[in-house]
Subunit: 167 residues, 2 copies
DNA sequence: TTAAACTTTCAGTAATTATTGAAAGTTAAA
DNA sequence: TTTAACTTTCAATAATTACTGAAAGTTTAA
């Protein structure tokens, strides 16, 4: 396998993975492209490389910046804007975990909390609803806390401490 | 908030969460409905409660069974089939984690492995591709292993051991 | 067997989501 | 200022994904 083939394979795999995670294809592909690029890329570079439109590129770059995964960089002597992504995988994981917690997990926990707090009228079905949503809420809380803890351990959090403790 | 409102809220929240996780809305809603039901439900029950077609119900029940989250139960004296879902949240989490690992994470790791194993021709861009995909592969491997370890600890794996160790 | 009760399949259609491209907006060099 | 270089926005459209309902398939009671 040669460079170009490997690059295409990486970008397309990363792209389709993205859609499974609530990130759209173009967004994931732009991130992948920047991730393996040796230097910041302009919007022009990106749209040509991925064969997507200017509008699409602009919108998805913006979303990546909202996520905090991509940043603008100024290249001296150049009028146009260049973009780069976080290159450290651990830091990347940290950002993604934090954002997913904020955008998805926290709101669900809130709803579970509301639902499990309804008045118990003593009927079977109400008891079951309360019991099950409460259990789900507690699990979600624990997982969210664990994820945030893991992710806040700076440097090698995975391979060091945690990882070994579990055996 | 009364029972019916709480139930609807739970089902619709769970449904929209599902789509963020690569599970479609109907599939997640069926699971939610079964999860808070006090007894197994028939296809008829489900389609009426969620207001979805017979075909849709059938297809999504099948997928839930493929995931191992829902099972058929025989109700004596009844001709039709009834369905129930795993009621224990920990066990549910275990199944979901295992399936996601198998369906999504493992295949990506395989591609990352292939891509990071291309011949190093010494160019900058090849070196960068190899370095970055290798880092990604290692992180994915670690996360996958961690997830599977966590998930195989029977009984209260979260709140017990792991959770406290990390502080 | 047969036929009623039930489930699955799948072509057609609806709903949702992503993408384009051109016009409007912004910036900074001349 | 003006204007050329560049970016953003957004209505129209394309692509994808989910859903329906009726026909075909299966099972079991009589």
């Amino acid at each position: 396998m040669q460079y170009q083939e490997a690059k295409d394979k990486f970008i397309s795999t990363w792209g389709s993975l993205g859609s499974l995670w609530g990130i759209n294809k173009a967004m994931a592909q732009i991130q992948a492209l920047l991730f393996i690029s040796t230097k910041p890329l302009s919007m022009e570079d990106i749209m040509h490389d991925l064969k997507i439109s200017r509008g699409n590129t602009s919108m998805n770059l913006r979303q990546l910046m909202d996520w905090g995964i991509v940043t603008k960089v100024l290249v001296s002597g150049e009028r146009k804007e260049f973009f780069t992504t976080e290159k450290d995988v651990q830091e990347l994981a940290r950002i993604v975990a934090k954002e997913r917690s904020r955008r998805e997990i926290k709101p669900v926990i809130k709803v579970l909390d509301e639902v499990s707090s309804i008045e118990n009228d003593g009927t079977e079905k109400t008891k079951e609803l309360i019991k099950q949503t409460k259990a789900l809420k507690e699990l979600s809380d624990d997982l969210d806390t664990l994820m945030n803890k893991l992710v806040n351990q700076k440097q090698n959090w995975l391979t060091k401490s945690v990882f070994k403790l579990i055996k």
